[in-house]
């Protein structure tokens, strides 16, 4: 129809599809096909012939499943008591989501070692009373540290769902004669299950893709992300067979889980019933104290890394050795004066990436939701593909694709920004689509019926209504982009280090004091926009998740 060709939305969706194909699909296909082509025997036969790789896949699956279960077991009860009860120190729990987002994983892993490593505080204390903990390297450490980082994603997702859950349903079940505990199970669980599943899925994929903690804590235990990285080190970029094969395995695992999740959700026909949320009940006495203590403990454990980087940032060090108790500003001076490039880089790249990602997701999700055409389903699917890609996989794919040829991007700042945008854009898209589904079509039609053409209507009516959600998404994109490590560490080049890369490098060089200083500045860079958004614009950043 000539009508569609004239429509600007048609061209926008075509452009979006072209960009997504070039920067998401093409690199991904490059990696997937490289596992078959390449020099020598193809990657898959080498994979099957190498017990270490098979072991890595098995371990990764076991780890991801266990971490998902443990994180859910911590996150859901915490979300429930927070949403339904008020108790002493509850406001502290509101800090939880921030904590995970702002603490670089490397630092978290290091802190865990200080507590539970062979010479950790807790390990030693327990050894003194005759209890020997298993070595923190390997399963114990991986499961503990990842669970205590990732449970917050479950918490954030589920607390919102419980908050919106219509308490009348629970009352209705009770009025029909089921006990309160059973009513909860029977009525609430099915309703909040999609939220639990969605966040569990997120935890699973993040565990599969985890790079920093796996590197530090896995030691001899082969894990997919670590062997992928090691294959990449061994192969370089000229022959990418094995790294591509292993990257493909991780993509396949995540895809399988995504489909499983979709299938479960689709079968259940779950729908979040929005209604009168329950008012938090005050908990007092022994029960209140117990809940406050348990919740407080979880928060405290999550906060430990933050405390350690604050102390570390102001502590004098000689080489790798911290002189605890001797304070200094020298470390921060290095961040701001002597070597400020990582800070400048982070601000620049993350700023540009946030702007691009938000603009892209606002406009494209609008087209997908409100102006569907022949391209939009593809735009929708492909824009979700990066969710299945770990940072390592994305980094491998971008470098393999853009290291030469007609679009040589490697070694430039563009490829870092590109990696940021691709990794975080799906969240912006999801957020944009959710917001747009809540904006009735009639709003636009009202504007059009009043004589304002469609494109101007988008800017005059739709965009202003989306604005609070966009602002929240922008802050969230910023925080996660600034903290991005696993893809950028693959694509950066000399002089383009970002704060997380610098922290990782410094920890690797054993320079904890400098690492803490850069880490602290990173935390500040992440926190300031969140606080400003919350205080100045009353934007609840985590509503956008």
């Amino acid at each position: 129809m000539t009508g569609t060709l004239c429509s600007p939305w048609f061209w926008i969706s075509a452009l979006a599809l072209a960009l997504l194909s070039l920067f998401v699909l093409y690199p991904l296909l490059n990696v997937l096909t490289a596992s078959f082509t390449g020099e020598g025997p193809n990657g898959w036969s080498r994979l099957i012939a190498t017990p270490r790789y098979l072991q890595a896949i098995q371990n990764t699956l076991i780890l991801a499943t266990t971490v998902t279960v443990v994180a859910t077991l911590i996150g859901v009860p915490l979300a429930y008591v927070t949403a339904r009860y008020s108790f002493a120190g509850k406001s502290l729990i509101a800090l939880l989501p921030l904590i995970t987002l702002v603490i670089p994983e490397v630092i978290a892993a290091q802190t865990w070692l200080m507590m539970l490593g062979n010479n950790g505080l807790i390990t030693r204390a327990l050894r003194d009373i005759g209890i020997r903990l298993p070595s923190f390297y390997g399963w114990f450490g991986l499961i503990t540290s990842m669970s205590f980082i990732y449970y917050t994603y479950v918490y954030i997702g589920v607390v919102a769902a419980i908050g919106k859950f219509d308490a009348q349903l629970e009352e209705a079940a009770q009025s029909l004669g089921t006990s309160p505990a059973r009513s909860r199970l029977k009525v609430m669980v099915p309703v909040i299950l999609p939220a639990i599943l969605a966040s569990a899925l997120l935890v699973f994929t993040m565990t599969v893709g985890n790079f920093a903690i796996s590197m530090i804590l896995s030691h001899r235990l082969p894990l997919l992300s670590v062997v992928t990285y090691q294959a990449a080190v061994a192969e370089g970029a000229s022959d990418i067979t094995m790294q591509s094969t292993l990257a493909s395995v991780s993509v396949l695992i995540v895809m399988a889980v995504l489909f499983l999740n979709r299938w479960v959700v689709a079968r259940g026909r779950y729908e979040i019933v929005q209604g009168r949320g329950a008012r938090p009940q005050p908990l007092r006495g022994l029960k209140g104290a117990a809940v406050a203590l348990a919740a407080g403990l979880v928060v405290l454990i999550s906060l430990l890394p933050l405390i350690s980087i604050i102390l570390g940032a102001f502590t004098q060090a000689r080489g790798p050795v911290m002189q605890w108790g001797n304070w200094t500003f020298a470390n921060l001076e290095r961040v701001f004066v002597t070597a400020p490039q990582p800070l400048i880089n982070s601000l620049t790249y993350a700023g540009v990436a946030t702007g691009l990602s938000i603009a892209f997701s606002a406009i494209v999700s609008y087209v997908v939701v409100k102006k569907p055409n022949i391209f939009t389903p593809f735009v929708d699917y492909i824009s979700a593909v990066p969710l299945a890609l770990s940072g390592t996989v994305l980094g491998v794919a971008l470098l393999a694709t853009f290291h030469g040829g007609w679009l040589p991007l490697s070694g430039t700042a563009t490829i870092i920004v590109l990696a940021y945008v691709i990794r975080r854009m799906p969240f912006g898209m999801r957020n944009g689509q959710a917001t747009l589904h809540n904006i009735p079509n009639s709003l636009e039609e009202a504007s059009i019926s009043l004589g304002v053409p469609p494109v101007r209507t988008f800017f005059k009516v739709v965009l202003p209504v989306m604005l609070p959600a966009i602002a929240a998404a922008a802050v969230l994109t910023w925080t996660t982009t600034v903290a991005e490590l696993s893809a950028s560490i693959l694509v950066y080049s000399g002089g383009r280090e970002t704060l997380p890369i610098q922290v990782f490098r410094l920890i690797d060089s054993g320079l904890m004091a400098y690492a803490s200083a850069y880490g602290l500045v990173l935390v500040a860079v992440i926190l300031i926009p969140i606080i400003v958004a919350a205080k100045l614009f009353r934007i609840d950043v985590f509503a956008a998740k």
């Binding site: 072991q55 070595s135 390297y137 030691h219 000229s238 060090a317 050795v321 040589p408 690797d508 054993g510």
Partner: protein, 327 residues
Amino acid sequence: MNIKPIHIVAALTLGLAAPALAQEPVLYTSNPVQAYEAVQANVKAETGLNLDVITGGSGVLLRRIEAETSAPQGDVFWSSSTNTLGAFEQLFEAYASPTLEAMPDDLRYPGDLFLPANVHVATMLVNTDQLDGQEVPVNWADLADPAWSGRIILPDPVNSSTGYTIVWGLSKLLDEATYKAVVANLVISGSSSAVPRGVAMGEYAVGLTFETNSYSYVDGGQTELRIVYPAEGTFISPEYAGLIKDAPAGENAKKAIDTLLSKETQIELLKVAFRRPSRTDINVSDHVGLPDIGNIKVFAVDEAEAAEQRDAALAAWAELPKAGDAK
């Protein structure tokens, strides 16, 4: 040289346009921040040039240089020992730096294709708080005692030249039974820097690593740490710098090498990064608490043979049971 986890970056950036200004020299190195920052500072002071640094594992960087041969992006390479460099000679050009006069002949590379920049010495880093009743080991063979099982950490020889140098040396120095017993006690670390850090944190009682990595913790004031140069003799490995063929920075690249090998820079590297100089005109013990090379018993190994048999040696190594194995 240590191939560090973070250096994957370069593995994947083959054929990239290096982001350097035309005349400023670019250094490719796997060495840590403290070391290359000292060099950067001295290059700036001596020549006024800004030395740009690309970091990465040494093997990775060498492959990158190989991929860039048609349009080289780097000027100077500073990493690696003979056993790694041998295969990449064609990427470099000889440079008869005036600083070579101060280098001992036995460290010089045939034809001066590479220039000796440091000497690494393998050591045991011992945390005396973690001995649990054991004596501080003085011989490599002492580590064969099953009491050490799971308490000794070594960088993975597959990824790290430090690890390989030590494993190769031990396999030559010790009889087979003792060697296997030592290996059975080892925990393997994927990250080289995790070795001294692990010992310093008390995670492990003994770490096998080069003195440059160990000593920074001793220097930092951790008095419970002891550096042991085993009495049977230890292994040394010179680290080289090389001028990349057709280096775009031209004369500036040579200036950077001269500065790297100058007495001032070598002393600075010794002081901040505890890298033992290759020059004969520096007394190590004058500057840091490390013994002069003359006071260390060295067990000579054939680096050429080590390089040649690397694959076979690593395959044999992979078969041996170790303490850190996943069950």
